[in-house]
């Protein structure tokens, strides 16, 4: 049995496995507390019983691990340098075997090394992605390689649902973003709609996490941009539509992560508002001959609106006021004053805004308390 009054190593067969360093620290500190009288000897024993000392850092284990890594690197290097000379069938097999081994390893060590197992799962997704593009290369196929991204996205998305993994879900959204932006000439409407609808439905399984809402909204906005470009909509109407969408996202309240929608909405109407201050955009409307007047009127109205938002404490509005002023500053003064003056004044403007921004943040922090 245990001698409760000695500082002995308590070895038990069941309990949470922690590293030797942590175990020794715990034992040391609890002993000190026991001696100080803050805990009783029974409490000390009960606590220490819960933990099990981890394995000693075995020298042989280290050497063997390094050896295994070296062999792995050697094999990788051999395959990479001789890739073009390897038979097509063998190349496909190598990719499948690499995928299989990684998945199997992730499965085997999941209980003991959770983080490494997750990392291996992510590695298998990367192997899958590179496998898709390597397939294109193996068969010397070079058209529509961008379709590889949607193939990659489908697999990643399915696996993210199986494991309920947020990172993989966001990654599949990102892959879809790349696919949309690379396929502006093609008709991919049906595929993307299926994806987007299922993304929004799946958000329920992830508890409407903020990052997921943000990135899925980004995909939807990108899809709208794609639709406008595919149907060759007039540029003015495209920008105006985005401006309205931004305002709608900013104001319309609802229950699904409204803060994210409002934040994205403010960025969207900010950027499209900036575009609407350019006279070239307004010229696309048939009844406007000279875009100067109306673009400046819009610019002033926009500025007033942003200043009103700043008064309410909205930080994004301040950033856009800064960009708006800089936009006019660059536009008008770049050619008129010597470059040195230009940069000095520009720097002062930025410093001024930085100072005002911080003041606003502080004020906001105080009112929130």
């Amino acid at each position: 049995m245990f001698n409760k009054n000695e500082k002995k190593e308590v070895t038990v067969n069941m309990g949470k496995k922690i590293s030797r360093g942590n175990y020794n620290f715990l034992s040391r500190e609890l002993n000190y507390q026991r001696e100080e009288g803050n805990i009783t000897p029974e409490q000390f024993t009960n606590m220490m019983e819960q933990y099990e000392k981890g394995d000693k850092l075995n020298f042989i284990k280290i050497i063997v691990t390094i050896g295994a890594i070296l062999i792995g690197l050697g094999i990788l290097s051999f395959v990479a340098s001789n890739w073009v000379y390897i038979n097509k069938t063998l190349r496909v097999l190598i990719i499948l075997v690499a995928l299989g081994l990684t998945v199997f390893a992730a499965y085997k060590i999941e209980n003991n090394y959770k983080n490494t197992s997750k990392a291996l799962l992510y590695l298998s997704i990367l192997i899958y992605g590179s496998g898709v593009f390597l397939m294109y290369q193996i068969f010397n196929y070079s058209e529509d390689v961008i379709k590889g991204f949607v193939l990659w996205a489908v697999g990643t998305y399915a696996i993210s649902l199986i494991f309920n993994d947020k990172i993989l879900f966001v990654f599949s959204n990102a892959l879809l973003l790349i696919y949309i932006n690379g396929s502006f000439r093609e008709n991919i409407i049906s595929y993307i709609l299926i994806f987007i609808i299922s993304f929004y439905i799946a958000q329920r399984d992830f508890n409407y996490s903020k990052e997921i809402t943000f990135v899925t909204n980004l995909v939807s906005l990108n899809f709208i941009l794609y639709l406008l470009s595919y149907f060759k909509v007039n540029h003015f109407f495209s920008v105006a539509l985005f401006f309205c969408i931004g305002i709608a996202m900013y104001y319309i309240k609802h229950d699904f992560n409204f803060e994210i929608f409002s934040f994205q909405g403010s960025i969207v109407f900010g950027i499209s508002g900036l575009f609407l201050t350019s006279k070239n955009i307004w010229k696309e409307l048939n009844f406007i001959k000279n875009g100067d007047v109306i673009s400046i009127i819009f610019g002033i109205l926009f500025l007033v609106y942003l200043l009103y938002e700043i008064k309410k404490g909205e930080l994004v509005a301040l950033i856009f006021v800064c960009i708006l002023i800089l936009r006019y500053y660059f536009d008008t003064l770049y050619d008129f004053i010597p470059k040195s003056m230009f940069f000095i004044i520009g720097g002062c403007i930025l410093l001024g805004f930085g100072y005002y921004f911080e003041k606003l943040r502080k004020r906001r922090g105080e009112t929130n308390d």
């Binding site: 073009v84 397939m135 068969f139 696996i159």
Partner: protein, 188 residues
């Protein structure tokens, strides 16, 4: 307990199965072309290229990439008339039938609809080819450029005798099946 074990193992099995299925499906068309396709040879030239993502490869430019107006179907020629200059043809898929001339194949006809039989390739319209009239200094379209999926070759840039392919006339061996072409190799 066993059920939970199976469920966990099944999850990981799916992580292996789904990507493998996708990769497997990607091999179907090339394999079908390899098994059922017809062997043809076309002429072109090769250049060494390097790409961040794909490493070294050969960029191939074929005779069949540039097609003169006489090979185009009437349907397609409609896109050129009235100074529209093929603008609306941009990005559309075209079907190019090939016929044998000597020991290699050349363009026979280009059409918008898929032919029911014969040797044909699926390509995409890229841009029109202008030719300048030296007397009137006016440009005139005399052909179009078509891109196929076989313009990159990811293998050794030297042939069996170690001669460089670059800047020489090369012959590409393809296996064609229902519009899909599998680039098997290039040689002199």
């Amino acid at each position: 307990m066993i059920k939970v074990m199976n469920k966990r193992a099944f999850k990981y099995f799916l992580v292996f199965l789904i990507p493998s299925l996708v990769l497997g499906v990607m091999t179907i068309r090339p394999m079908a072309a390899n098994a059922f396709g017809q062997n043809i040879t076309i002429r072109g030239s090769a250049l060494n290229r390097r790409d961040v993502f794909r490493g070294d490869f050969m960029q191939l430019d074929y005779e069949i990439n540039e097609v003169t107006l006489e090979h185009l179907d009437n349907e397609i020629l409609k896109y050129k008339n009235e100074n529209r200059n093929f603008e609306e043809l941009k990005g559309k898929s075209l079907y190019i039938t090939l016929k044998k001339e000597g020991s290699y194949y050349v363009v026979d006809k280009v059409m918008l609809k898929e032919p029911k039989e014969g040797i044909y390739l699926k390509g995409r319209y890229e841009y029109p080819i202008w030719v300048e009239n030296k007397e009137s200094m006016e440009g005139k379209i005399n052909g179009i450029r078509i891109e196929y999926s076989i313009d990159k070759y990811f293998a050794s840039s030297k042939d069996k005798n170690n001669r460089d392919f670059e800047k020489q006339i090369i012959y590409a061996n393809l296996k064609v099946y229902k519009g899909y072409s599998l680039l098997k190799g290039i040689e002199y």
